[in-house]
Symmetry: C2
Subunit: 197 residues, 2 copies
DNA sequence: TACGATACGGAGGCTACCTCCGCTTTTTCA
DNA sequence: TGAAAAAGCGGAGGTAGCCTCCGTATCGTA
């Protein structure tokens, strides 16, 4: 259903241990202080030299990638979950809502993700493939049902929703109102809906 | 119609000259390389010592403020222009479109601006007042006309539109598609529109 | 023109990013 | 099992950006 995302967990025992320590430390630090925590701080938290961090993760993005693998997997998984439990439109709405709610709590994760989705790295291509596959399942079902306009593109919707979370001090209520506008914007207008479900 | 925004252009001739040099240099640099251009680079461009920059603009935000004054004024002015020339809904749409188009060409300026509008500095409060006044003129007219839902809030719409421009490499076409979704989301749905204009 | 007020500029302290390389640990294999 | 090879470790140190401080220069005025 979804191809596994590429990670490069090292082979040697000590290296693998440090890799895990770093990823956990980064995950915590990013959640606590946002994604601009200094890499030295993360190395310190992990109890590891800065050189070790940089050997494994040549730049901040590489570390973000490793942290985001799980999150992205769970974003995709949720899509399939909603697809099973809810009707097409509701599933799409729920997925997008979870996207926003989640990333608010995780300090702009989806925002960073959305920015990154524009990039061409191997990693993000793989992510994009997975997210696309999951999202398009929902989107196409909703289109088929006639509750979402045919001409809309998944990546446009995701970027818009991702943009919601980019604001510095967005609270949950406002995010919900913004999402509500987007959701309303997906629906066919009265004059073009072919046959209301 | 709109209260002038506060600027603190200095009194002495040499200081005033440097102030202007810095603001121009910053404006160019921000447009060329984005708003995270280093302040030393800007001082260099202006042919001025870094100390001079920092005396006048105690931090990056202060410099952004000075650069944005004109832009914000022009954003507001455009609102009044559209209000005169176009019907309520079209005026609102045109205004939002200009907002996006402008910030695409000027890198993430409007994005930063939108984020900043959330802040509480004296300056940004003044901006918010002006933008609000201008935007609400358009929004209320459109609501009255019945082409935009009553319950929508200007700041929500602006944040959503601002979010569009935050993506790293957003092209004009995609931005236009995203805006189109937002605009569709403003309209009353078939079952709640009281009396179509 | 002379003097007080104002402004200039860059050295330098701080922090973060990232590289490099001598030393240590793990793995392999005879 | 022990020693060589492979892999990994860590932090010193180079670079760059942020910002402050203060000795020197310029401006405005009387």
């Amino acid at each position: 259903m979804s191809t596994p995302l590429p990670t490069t967990r090292p082979a040697r025992a000590d290296a693998r241990r440090n890799y895990d320590l770093l990823v956990s430390a980064a995950r915590e630090a990013f959640a606590e202080h946002g994604t601009d925590t200094s890499l030295e701080e993360i190395a310190r938290r992990a109890g590891v030299g800065i050189g070790t961090l940089y050997r494994r993760f040549p730049n901040r993005t590489a570390l973000l990638e490793a942290v985001y693998v799980d999150e992205i997997q769970s974003v995709c998984d949720r899509a399939y979950g909603y697809a099973e439990k809810l009707g097409p439109y509701d599933a799409l709405a729920a997925w997008l809502r979870s996207f926003v709610g989640y990333s608010i709590s995780k300090k702009s994760l989806a925002g960073e993700l959305t920015v990154a989705l524009g990039k061409d790295s191997e990693f993000f291509t793989a992510c994009k493939v997975n997210v696309r596959e999951a999202g398009e399942l929902l989107l196409n079902a909703a289109k088929k049902e006639g509750t979402v306009r045919e001409e809309l593109q998944l990546m446009d919707i995701l970027r818009l929703v991702g943009g919601i979370t980019m604001g510095r001090d967005m609270d949950r209520d406002q995010a919900e109102r913004l999402l509500e506008i987007v959701l309303a914007g997906l629906k066919p207008t009265a004059d073009e809906s072919p046959s209301p479900a």
